[in-house]
């Protein structure tokens, strides 16, 4: 029995040692970047690929100041435990210099704690949850537009152009809940207006009509829809089924930007507006060029802000790397990570795909780390497979907008 147990342990240990390769950096003198995103959902795999391609492109041109980039790209499936595992892997196994991720806020939140403790710069391309940058971490930079700006984009524009009687209908997921919470608090803080109606449903619910009928009878100016793709499409559709007139502005959480929404909702999507960081119908030359590149290289008809932000984040990473003085030895890992972080903090007035400038600074505050403070409002002008939309407005904010005083 002893022999048996000992042998078993040995076999296990050998197996482990064999399967987990030593966590040594493959080569000195390369900059290692870890990317973790939600992959394999809609276009997710492609924007991960694009971020990787963008970073690796510098190697063909001789690298950044002669230093090559190495990328480890992993999927986290929008699951926090996976994101945590990937982050641990990047830090201890791949010994990366910086991490880019993630898509879902619930994944990014625990990642922030890890990078703060382990002191690795984390560049957040997609997550919008307001609390992420309020944790006081000195190691994170967000290139996506935080929810606190998003919600105000709608609220501000609609309060001025449509009206202040807002009916809310949302599903119980992170995006839906924080969308409505932020919208409501903006209306309360700025105009002292309470919600006209509030309905909450399950992520998996199919029939929203009972709520919508009540909303119709209240005659709102705005119908605010919080939720993910399916819920937004369904609520839009059912809002017309119950007869809420088209003069009521439909506004929804950022998930409305995803292609399935107009395809699922059909004509009901016409007039639906949502905040975004980017629209493929953007007429600016830099945007048109980007859209053309993605269409050709990644075969995506209309890259959304997930694409643009992944792209922009990659560009910002390259910019920061070019500004940082890196030694790139095993011993200098901590210093290099710090140098990259400090280089990020120097980025000011960066003009890219975002509708406004991106600004970072050194303080570990939301004012400094939510770099992108300009949202746009996008309106669907046609639904179905060949949907169309246009940029309705661009709204920029002060750095401390939406923070509790």
């Amino acid at each position: 029995m002893v022999a048996y147990v000992v042998r078993l342990c040995l076999a296990l240990a050998l197996g482990l040692a064999f399967s987990l390769r030593p966590g040594v950096a493959d080569a000195q003198g390369t900059i290692r970047v870890g990317i973790t995103l939600r992959m394999l959902v809609e276009n997710g795999f492609k924007y991960g690929q694009m971020a990787q391609d963008e970073l690796l492109a510098v190697n063909a041109a001789g690298g950044i100041k002669g230093q090559k980039i190495e990328v480890v790209l992993l999927d986290d499936e929008c699951k926090p435990d996976k994101g945590v595992a990937n982050t641990n892997r990047f830090i201890h196994q791949n010994k990366v210099h910086l991490i880019m991720g993630s898509t879902c806020s619930s994944v990014t939140l625990p990642m922030v704690d890890i990078v703060t403790k382990e002191e690795i710069p984390l560049i957040i391309p997609h997550s919008t949850n307001t609390t992420i940058t309020q944790k006081g971490s000195a190691w994170i930079f967000r290139t996506s537009v935080a929810e606190r700006f998003y919600a105000a984009v709608h609220a501000k524009y609609l309060a001025e152009n449509a009206g202040k009687k807002v009916a809310y209908l949302f599903t119980n997921d992170g995006a839906g809940i924080s969308f409505v919470r932020d919208y409501k608090s903006y209306m309360a803080d700025t105009y002292k207006v309470e919600p006209l109606y509030e309905g909450q449903m399950q992520e998996t619910d199919l029939d929203f009509r009972p709520h919508l009928l009540k909303i119709k009878s209240l005659n709102p100016d705005v119908l605010a829809i919080g939720g993910q793709i399916d819920a937004i499409a369904r609520i839009s559709q059912q809002s017309y089924e119950v007869g809420i007139p088209s003069k009521v502005r439909r506004v929804s959480a950022s998930a409305a930007s995803n292609a399935p929404v107009p395809e699922l909702a059909g004509d009901a999507v016409k007039g639906l507006i949502f905040a975004a960081a980017f629209s493929c119908t953007d007429e600016r030359p830099i945007a048109k060029e980007f859209v053309k590149m993605v269409q050709e290289k990644y075969k995506v008809r209309c890259p959304d802000h997930d694409f643009s932000q992944a792209y922009e984040t990659a560009q910002l990473v390259k910019l920061a790397l070019s500004r940082a003085k890196l030694t790139l030895t095993d011993a200098s890992l901590a210093d290099d990570r710090k140098a990259i972080r400090d280089a990020f903090a120097t980025i000011k007035d960066y003009q890219g795909l975002a509708s406004g400038p991106i600004n970072f600074c050194a303080d570990p505050t939301p004012q400094c780390r939510d770099g992108n403070r300009t949202g746009i409002l996008v309106e669907y002008t046609k639904g179905g497979k060949d949907y169309e939309m246009r940029v309705l407005a661009r709204v920029g904010f002060e750095a401390d907008f939406g923070l509790k005083k």
Binding site: V6, C9, G23, I91, N172
Partner: protein, 343 residues
Amino acid sequence: MEDASISAGDAVRRDLGARPLWSRLHLPWVAGALFLLLLPWATRNAYHHYILNLILINVILAVGLNIVKGFAGQVTVGHYAMAAIGAYASAVFAAKFGVPFWLALPAATLFTGLVGAIVGIPAFRLEGAYLALATLGLAESVRIAIGVTDYLGAAVGFSDIPPPVFFGRPVVDHIAYYYIVMPLALAGIYFSFCILRSDIGRSFKALREDSLAAAACGINVRKYKLLAFLISALYAGCAGSLQAHMAPGFLHPNSYTITEMVTLLLMVVMGGLGHIWGGVIGAAIVTVIYDLTRDYYQYQMAIFGMVIVLTVMFMPRGIGGLIDDYLAKRRFVAIRRAKANAA
């Protein structure tokens, strides 16, 4: 066969009579524990320590699932939800009420055990696929309920769960956490051996095979079904609590879906249903495979599907079956040799 079996009776008698002292002192356990104490120092890579911790937590989960599914034959798909309950209970105790980890862990474990016993009640009437469906329904409602409960962080997640504090120092490094997880995993394995080799384990196996005959032998079928669910839920609760307090102390309902449950089932099936060491090895292998295939995320699901199919095709009794066969063969050979010597 005839020869061997004649000696088998003698061998049993021998076992019953004079067992060597080291065996009575549980020496194998001491040896194993010593090995595990030193194991993390074989590598300085904190990621390996992290994976070790994941393996050990999965070991606790798999060993617990093996008790209800492998021993007692109750087809439950709710085991992962039990882990979720343990995790969130522990998180609430620690983060909301300031209970130290050392109390939150046993409290959450006991709490989950109670819930597990309640979940076991449908097993009185349901069997097989129907029981699976019922437990699946319960598990999904647990996940959904967490996702809508603001108090538990809802869909944003439960963050800032305090780490264990050991003599005033927070245990956040993976290697330090290992020394909390490892003894618990070892204890879990030990207890499951005790259970399997005692009257409880036999009763579990009896009701797995034929609950009617078991009842005719005086086994209170309901009691033992409940006991199986309760014990396995204790394991799940403990594992959940360990998940909750492991750095960075964050929980989210997305980590407790049916996919995780299937992965857990794979560990137990690969290890061999009802075989303890098999389950342990299965947990280790599946966790490591899962980690290795992380790089090939595009193919991960396909790889896992293939592993399941191959396991079922070529190792229907899992790794545990291979171990059993090996041990049986060794015993057979030893007995034959003893006979030859005697002759």
